[in-house]
């Protein structure tokens, strides 16, 4: 029963307006408390920012750096509010996590020219997994509020030779746009797209993982950016213009009838002149 309920809950979250994800998720957990942990780990939410006062840097919050009600900062590797024995990555993994955060910080700057990024890693039996988060809010220019949230979950299976690995990436990008203007009233275009990609990579040293993950994430984000552009500003716009026609439909029918007549007349003329 619980598995069916989880599937129904996820189906519901794909249908309810994404603009109210947090409220919907909270209500859903209230309604079916047994699904709480499953829902928190499988429903993507817009990323929240917290301040690491020790390091003087911002970091992003998600279920992967959460332990109870506390969140771990990737900069200081400590929990806020403090936890006695909060989950921490092993030393080896923490070293890689530090490198990854620095690398993706640069990636973020090059593509987003602002925003906040965070990388969290955790151990698996034959490798490790991680999440790469990026949040970029717009500056509100032209009276439009915009925000981009990237959530890349990557699973790295290290081959027994230690010289190659298999990378499985599941990425969700959330894009939020809203405006309130006299001409168009309130317009809220938001939500997310999810894609999966996997590939193998050679590993010559630990930092090779960062190169392999980086390339995979970059390719994935570039693809999703392209699709977001098509869906948000192409598809949904076409649907709106299919619901109502600014041009009177009677005029269009006339135009269509005219061009059909013309085509028929041309065909007849060609038929006559053919031998």
């Amino acid at each position: 029963m619980t598995e069916e309920q989880l599937n129904r809950a996820l189906d519901l979250m794909r249908r309810l307006p994404p603009q109210q994800i947090e409220k919907n998720l909270s209500d859903l957990i209230d309604l079916v408390p047994e699904l709480c942990e499953d829902l928190l780990s499988s429903v993507d939410q817009p990323l929240k920012i917290a301040r690491d006062k020790k390091e003087g840097k911002d970091y992003l919050l998600c279920d992967y750096n959460r332990d109870g009600d506390s969140y771990r900062s990737p900069w200081s590797n400590t929990y806020e509010p403090p936890l006695e024995d909060g989950t921490l990555p092993t030393d080896r993994l923490r070293r890689l996590e530090i490198e990854a955060n620095a690398a993706f910080d640069q990636y973020r700057q090059m593509y987003f020219e602002g925003g906040v990024s965070s990388v969290y890693l955790w151990d698996l039996d034959h490798g490790f997994a991680g999440v790469i988060l990026i949040k970029r809010a717009g500056d509100g220019a032209r009276n439009i509020k915009g925000c981009w949230d990237s959530i890349h979950v990557i699973e790295v299976q290290e081959k027994s030779t230690g010289r190659s690995a298999h990378y499985k990436l599941t990425s969700t990008v959330m894009l939020w746009l809203q405006t309130s203007r006299p001409g168009s009233g309130t317009m809220n275009l938001g939500g997310s797209l999810t894609r999966q990609m996997e590939q193998d990579g050679t590993v010559s040293e630990p930092t090779s993982h960062i190169v392999n993950m980086g390339r995979l994430v970059e390719d994935m984000e570039n693809k999703i950016r392209h699709t977001l552009n098509e869906i948000y500003f192409g598809k949904t716009k076409d649907i709106v213009n299919g619901l109502r026609s600014i041009q009177p439909l009677a005029d269009q029918k006339q135009k269509q009838a005219f061009s059909e007549d013309l085509a028929n007349a041309l065909q007849k003329r060609q038929g006559k002149s053919d031998p």
Binding site: P17, P33, E99, Q106, Y111, G138, A141, L189, L243
Partner: protein, 286 residues
């Protein structure tokens, strides 16, 4: 909260009803089934949540086919006569409406409000022609109500495209209310558009706009023509503004969030990024 702390039945009903009322156009059945399984209490569903079905259908301006008429009507708050019955001013009938099956039955004769009927009828003619001219599959309805010294006319349009096989649905709703008293009147409109795209994702467009105009009313036909002229102007202006926003959102806002490529015009050199970091670490160690 601990799994033992269950919320009250009242809270469950509130949550279930909220979910139902926010079902995107064309997906009521799927949301209903999801909520039914999650609530896991058909008695509570029937007793506490059934009201939400009616509110949803009325809010969506749901089109309804009448068994003995070729022109569909709409289910709205304006033609709700209680007891699960609604009236269709065009065919002068009332019907029982099943909110789950979305079907009309038990048709009976319905008496229009004589004081306002000539005005309502005139507007219905003009408005029906306007709807056919701009909404390929649009359904419209005009309701009239007279009071002591004023009249109110409500004109609604609904058009939708449901393509679940292609993972999208959309609906346009217009609601125009005119209050006429003496020789003047006020025209108020609420325009709403909702689009849901859900192939490997969940993207929704939710738009709404309120419009106000003042009216001068001479006779039934002239007033109806003026109303429709203002409505056509407002709705087209709205649609153009939405399209302009799309342009700005894509050209300006979206571009400023993430570049297509870094300023170098080529992808990131990850080897370089790693070596730079290692270089810094080595320097720090010294």
């Amino acid at each position: 909260m601990a799994p033992d702390d269950q919320i009250s039945d009242q809270e469950k009903v509130r949550i279930a009803s909220d979910f139902i009322r926010h079902a995107p156009p064309g997906e009521f059945n799927e949301v209903f089934t999801d909520v039914r399984v999650l609530l896991n209490n058909d008695t509570l569903l029937k007793e506490g949540v059934a009201g939400a079905f009616a509110l949803y259908n009325k809010d969506q301006l749901t089109p309804v086919k009448l068994p003995n008429s070729s022109i569909p009507s709409l289910v709205t708050e304006h033609n709700d006569i209680g007891g699960g019955r609604f009236f269709d001013p065009r065919s002068k009938q009332s019907f029982k409406y099943d909110h789950l099956r979305k079907e009309a039955s038990d048709l009976q004769a319905w008496e229009p409000d004589a004081a306002v009927e000539s005005w309502r009828d005139a507007l219905e003619s003009q408005f029906t022609e306007y709807t056919a001219n701009h909404y390929k599959h649009g359904v419209c309805a005009v309701f009239g109500q007279s009071r002591n010294d004023s009249m109110s006319l409500v004109a609604c349009i609904e058009d939708h495209q449901f393509q679940p096989k292609n993972y999208w649905n959309g609906r346009w709703r217009s609601q125009w209310c005119a209050t006429l008293s003496g020789g003047t009147g006020e025209l108020q409109g609420t325009l709403r558009v909702q689009v849901h795209y859900y192939e490997d994702g969940n993207v929704q467009l939710v738009c709404s706009k309120n419009v106000k105009h003042s009216l001068t009313c001479s006779n039934e036909v002239e007033t109806a023509k003026e109303m429709v002229r203002l409505i056509e102007e407002s709705e087209s202006e709205y649609q153009l503004a939405i399209n302009e926003n799309y342009q700005t959102m894509s050209d300006t806002t979206f571009k400023a969030l993430r570049r297509q490529l870094p300023i170098t015009r080529s992808k990131v050199d990850w080897e370089k990024i790693i070596s730079y970091k290692i270089g810094k670490e080595i320097n720090k160690a010294q």
